[in-house]
Amino acid sequence: MFPPIPNPSVSPDAAKPRFGEKDIMRRSASEVTPPAQRLTEVAKLIDVSKCIGCKACQAACLEWNNLTEEIGFNHGVYENPMDLTPNTFTLMRFTEWENPETENLEWLIRKDGCMHCEDPGCLKACPAPGAIVQYSNGIVDFQHENCIGCGYCIKGCPFNIPRISKVDHTAYKCTLCSDRVAVGQGPACQKACPTQAIVFGTKQEMKDWADFRIKDLKSRGFENAGLYDPQGVGGTHVMYVLHHADQPSIYANLPDNPRISPIVDAWKGVTKYVGLAAMGFAAAAGFLHYVVAGPNRVTAEDEENAEKLTEGKGPAKGPPSAPPPAPPSGPAGHEGRAT
């Protein structure tokens, strides 16, 4: 078994976070100087083949984060609730899949939740400065006091994870228990998992452990067993060991090849720079025109015509039914003279 992480210490000295502000690698809608030295990347490995679907991780997640889920309805399926919610950061998704090769019914259980992408789509899409940050150990965390609740992070996420709370109208998702990781603990879900289907450590440790698991699965006839660490988002800090790694989509629509939506990429990339260029060009052109041609002056002839118009004596254009407005308070006449 993977050696368990020791119990947390309650001493105030041990509670000092081991990473923080200085380790921020990316910050939404702002520029940051990345830290000179990256922290060791952490990762959570979810071994789908060992999961028994008990939902201890789901319960532990609610418990640690002081959240409660509304009492729902039995929809006749094992998922409960039916989808991720602002309170349910992690959700067991159950799929009954008939293996066409063996004609066996396989019960695929996947723990869904934030994947903590190396290249986070939520952070790229976010327009609120500092609402989403990425620490150099790979944790992508939401800062609720900066969140404006626009929901762009949901569009940006290749895995459809964040959810907007109806209570405070900000986005919520798994934090990888950044508060626990900061004091050297693993996330709450990992600690609770009774079959060690969830293990936590450095990214390299997790890859090595996954190799060991994949070898074991292959020896048991799962030839396509493999690690799910999608490179389309630069790799993730939550990885899966899948027994059918050749077709991740059978696991409750896990994306085969996740990548940030091209619309988000274009909107936050090319469009932004083109827009800025257009604005800069307009400003420069305006200034140049002012220097070369000077301001637009009203000629005496124009003034006269305007006066005629406001007095209702204009040729064919005067309002026929309305009584002629008093000349000094007429809006056009007033404006024409005032400046």
Binding site: I5, E31, E63
Partner: protein, 199 residues
Amino acid sequence: MNMELSRRSFLKTSGAGIAGTSLGAFGFGEAEAAVASFIKPFHLANTTEARNTCTYCSVACGIIIYSKGDLRKGEKADIVHIEGDADHPTNRGTLCPKGAALRDIVKSETRLTQPMLRKAGSDTFEPVSWDAALDKIARMMKDDRDANFVATNKDGVTVNRWLTTGFLAASATTNETAFATYKVVRSTGILAFDNQARV
């Protein structure tokens, strides 16, 4: 809002707005000033730990109960978190979903915290003292056993059965408690004997 706004001043104001936000977008000024971010403080700091055994099944997982409030200073202690005990040989820190949600049973409004009695003919339970409850149970068990104890079967073989009362014991007990419970219950002749882990 009703205010006088001429066409010219409207254009002027919006022009200034566009100019300002454009400057911000270009990165001039502190338009996108960095805002402080922080990691939630670890909420088990300065709590009191108490080792215990999970109340649910007979696996008897080790748990640690974290409470806030110092009893020695006369404060009221309150349980803030419960998680598995990594040093416990049974579960090595892991818990099942029921165990992982143990704090909810502690805080549950429907949790039974004292003996309750529903008197014959009544439709409500009312609290009674432990002494009264145990006395009543002992009295009723004695009466029932005196009336219905089967010492011999119809062939005259000694069987010593007491079939009209059952006993349901706790599962989260030590071996010694379980041994004593078993001996006491079986010595009375009770056959219907189980523990709540199978309920």
